[in-house]
Amino acid sequence: MNKQTRELNRMNNDLDKLLYLENNPAMTDIICYLRGANISEYNQEIIRQDLLEMVLSAQERNENIETVIGTDYKTFCDEIIATFPPKSLKEKMIGFFDAISLGLSVFCAINIILSNETFVLIHNLIVGEPLNFEIDVTAGLIVSLLIAFIAAFGIVNFIMKKSFEIGSLFHNNTSAILIVLGSISIFLVIGWFGRNTIFTVNIFIALFFSFALYLTHRLLSRI
C-alpha cells in the first residue's frame, strides 16, 4: 500500500467508525467483496470513500444503507468494479510476493518462538547449561506451511468472492470459532505425525530470515 493509499485508508477507517451498527454488516460485506476485486488498492479506497460519504449522509437524513444502495449489493459492486481498470501484471505480482513475504515472516517468527529448542535454549541460558542454537525443521512444519499458504489464499479468495452469501456465517461468532478450532486441530495432527527432522538451522539465521522477509513485505507494500 503506497503512501497515498495508506493515507486514504486511514481516513476511511476513521469514517468507518461513524457508521451506525445497522449499516455495518452490509458495508463490511461490500468492502470485503471489493477487496477481492481485480482493481488497485487505491481505487478500492476511492470507492470506499465514496460509499462512506453516501451512507454517512444517508444516516444524517435518518435513512439506511438499503435506501441508498438497494439490496442487490453484488450487482451494485460489479457495476462499480467494471468502471475501473484491472490490476496490471506488475501490481498482481507485487501483491502476491508481498503476501508471501509477510505470511512466511510471521510463520517463521511463530515457529521460532514456539519451538521446543527455543524453550530449551532459554532454560539452559537461565541455569547456565551449554547452549544449542540449532532449531529442527521438521517434515510436519514444512507440510503445515504449504497447507497454511494454500488454505489461506483459497479461503481468503473464497470469502472475498462470496462475501454476500457467507457474510452472515462470519457475523456469527460460533461458526467462526468452530472454523478456527478445526483448522488448529488439523495442524496439531500434522505436527504430531510429521516430527522427522529434515534439517536444522541456527536460531539467529532463522530470526534474520524472518526479519528480512518482513522488511521485504514493508518494501513491497510501499510500491
Binding site: 481516513m11 469514517l15 461513524l18 470513500q49 465514496d50 462512506l52 460519504e53 453516501m54 454517512l56 449522509s57 444517508a58 444524517e60 435506501t67 441508498v68 444502495i69 438497494g70 451494485f76 457495476e79 462499480i80 467494471a82 468502471t83 475501473f84
Partner: protein, 111 residues
Amino acid sequence: MIPSQMLKGTLEGCILKVICYNETYGYEISQALQKYGFQDISEGTIYPLLLRLEKNGLVTTQSRESPLGPKRKYFKITPLGESTLESFFSNWKELENAVNQLFQSGGQKHE
C-alpha cells in the same frame, strides 16, 4: 415505475442533463431525477453511471468539504460531455419519433 431495462442507455444522458445546469453531487442528482419522474432512482443507482461518465471524460469531479462528515464529490460537465449530451438528445428525439410513429399511425397490420 420505468423498468430498469428501459432506463438503461438513457439514464446516463439524463444525468448529464442534470449536471449541465450546474456543479452538483450524487444525492442532489438523484433527487432532481426523482423530481422529474424517475422514481426509485437512488444515489447508489447513479453512482456507477457517474463513475463511467467520469472515466469517459464527460464529467470532472472535485471533492469539497461537506457538513456531513466526509468530503463530497461534485460533478461538472466537460465540453466533451456537452457534445455527448447534444447527440444523446438528438438520438432520443429520433427514437421518440420512431416509437410515436409506430404507435400512433403504424399500429395497424402491415400491408
